[in-house]
Amino acid sequence: MDAPDYFQFFGLEARLSIDLPDLENRFYRLSRQLHPDRHAQAAPSERERSLEASAILNDAYRTLRDPVARAEYLLKQQGFEQSKQAPAELLDEVFDLNLALEELRGGDVSVRSRLEAARERFLALLQETDAGLEGLFGAYDRSPAPAALGEIRAALNRRKYISNLVQQVESELNP
């Protein structure tokens, strides 16, 4: 069975901002409908179908519940693949961070404060990007245009990069 459109699966319109409590209600309702116990008496083929549908339901819920995963999903549907270009303005930061991490591993503890400063900077960048994304999501929902998706694509690339950075610093500071 081909994976159906996740939005349709939940009976929703394809939107980037969605009402989470509503999504949750729909999820529980569908879970109950598809629950194997309700199909215990059914023919094997039908049981199998309900099992498959439950698996899709879980994937769909996981995807739509998270704003970033949701946007990634919609972008992919619309043919916006993840770009192979890293955000150029961040590369120097990334490079310096890696250099600092290497020095820290080499035993130079004085770089700790540099890393802490870097973490603050990246977290601030992440917040900034998220705020920007929220605005872009709203704009797209009001008038869904491909150009808006291009901007979202770029912002998501940036976000991915920054969150990788945060993770790297975190795991180094608190191993």
Binding site: Q82, S83, K84, Q85, A86, P87, A88, L90, L91, D92, V94, F95, N98, L99, E102, N157, K160, Y161, N164, L165, Q168
Partner: protein, 128 residues
């Protein structure tokens, strides 16, 4: 995943690791990254302004073994070439030389992009 012997060799004995002076007119710096894995690569060339020949090249890569090997190989290859010749280097050449598996092709793309970016940076500097 098993790395080929050539990759391991470049990984264990990377050639031309280091950096050149960014402020130098003869130096071009290429900084590139791969969003999928977060890896970054810096590749620098130093060009003879009379002949256009790349006289020195350095790299520093934070990434997987294939990315390190690709950039190490790239610095070896660009040295002694003119800027125009260096632009001809394709990532498939690197893939073949290092026997990179399909999942590691993007690492070689990074090296090709880094060469191009370094040359572009060098040319931009000169046009000022």
């Amino acid at each position: 995943m098993a790395y080929s012997e050539k990759v391991l060799d470049h990984f264990a004995n990377p050639r031309n690791v280091g950096s050149l002076d960014r402020g130098d007119q003869r130096v071009g710096t290429g900084m590139v990254g791969a969003p999928e894995c977060g890896d970054v690569m810096k590749l620098q060339i130093q060009v003879n302004e009379e002949t256009g020949v790349i006289e020195d090249a350095k790299f520093k890569t934070f990434g997987c073994g294939s990315a390190i090997a690709s950039s190490s190989l790239a610095t070896e290859w660009v040295k002694g070439k003119t800027v125009d010749e260096a632009l001809e280097i394709r990532n498939v050449d690197i893939v073949n030389e290092l026997s990179l598996p399909p999942v590691k092709i993007h690492c070689s793309v990074l090296a090709e992009d880094a060469i191009k970016a370094a040359i572009e940076d060098y040319r931009k500097k000169r046009s000022h």
